[in-house]
């Protein structure tokens, strides 16, 4: 699944070649930093998570198998790392999630002529409660399907689907309010 150049790069990383590790890091760091930010919602925590994830990635590189692409393998490690960070600070969220329980009663419908802007949508996504934001971004931005999300989050597939549709309704509501 991966190219010869990539296999070579991986082999060099495994030998502890710092130059090769830097190349690999640069190839994925920006994208993974964005993943961390979307998962955690704070730049400071995203930065720490990125650092810890890559240290972990280099240490575990020998367990990488060509069944998945390197990018997908790296992304899963990063996401799992973010979820661990999340578990550690769960109290803070119990309180916030209570407030987030107020789901809009009706599903807002898009007007025919709704015009979205990336910045507004992005800001609204970052204002979603953490549980909503994670499912929504895993599905729409990171490109996982509900079975995969269920696996990542350790929930049922139906749970992922219903959480996602609530998240989408909330996002719509946030985009409508001014």
């Amino acid at each position: 699944m991966h190219s010869e150049a990539e296999s070579l790069l991986i082999a060099r990383c495994l030998q502890g070649d710092r130059q090769a590790q830097h190349t690999l890091y640069q190839r994925y760091s920006d994208a993974m930093y964005n993943v961390c930010y979307r998962m955690l919602g704070s730049e400071a925590e995203a930065e720490d998570a990125l650092q810890e994830s890559f240290i972990d990635i280099f240490r575990r590189l020998d367990s990488f198998r060509a069944e998945s692409s390197l990018g997908a393998w790296i992304k899963r490690i990063v996401i799992n790392h973010c979820l661990n960070v999340f578990k550690k600070r769960r109290i803070r969220f119990e309180e916030i999630n209570e407030r987030a329980g107020e789901v809009p009663a009706e599903e807002y419908q898009d007007d025919e002529d709704t015009v979205y802007e990336v910045k507004r949508v992005k800001d609204a996504i970052m204002r979603l409660p953490d549980g909503y934001r994670q499912v929504l971004t895993l599905y729409l931005i990171e490109g996982y399907d509900h079975a995969e999300i269920a696996d990542i989050l350790g929930i049922q597939e139906t749970g992922s689907k219903s959480q996602y549709s609530r998240a989408r309704a909330k996002l719509r509501a946030l985009l409508i309010e001014k």
Partner: protein
Amino acid sequence: MNEQDPLEAFIRDNRSSFDDLKAPERVWARIDKKDTQRINLWKWSAVAASALLLVAVGYIFGIKAQAQPDIAGWDEYMEAENYYQSRIDNKMKEIRTLPVSEEVMNDIQVLDEVYEQLRKQLMEDPNANTQLLLSAMIRHQQQKLDVMEKILNRVDKYQKSESNNHEM
């Protein structure tokens, strides 16, 4: 799932615009300092395991002597607290290496005092709303972490503009 949903379609069509952040430069520098070799991992895990054993033994024997407040959610709080404190300690080490003014350090000191007050209130006031205080304390720690992060960013930028000025 409705495939025609305009909001979903919009996000998918603009997928690449959502990756607009750049990983801060300093992250690689920190990774570069760490040992990422697997070969050493066994050796270190043995060292870590024996250290952990020592700590665990100390903890088990020490636990009875330690006064632990009888507050719901205390264990979870301590877990979060330890997590943030170690992050804060790391950032503090970094800030100390920078030429920041006394004033900045004093401001950080003030934050510490606020935190101590929250903690004192929790310990001493039997009528305190413990859940509220616990989450306020955790939020405080996170904000502190953010402030420290901002200081580091600011100094970074300042140093860069300084060195640019010298070149001119």
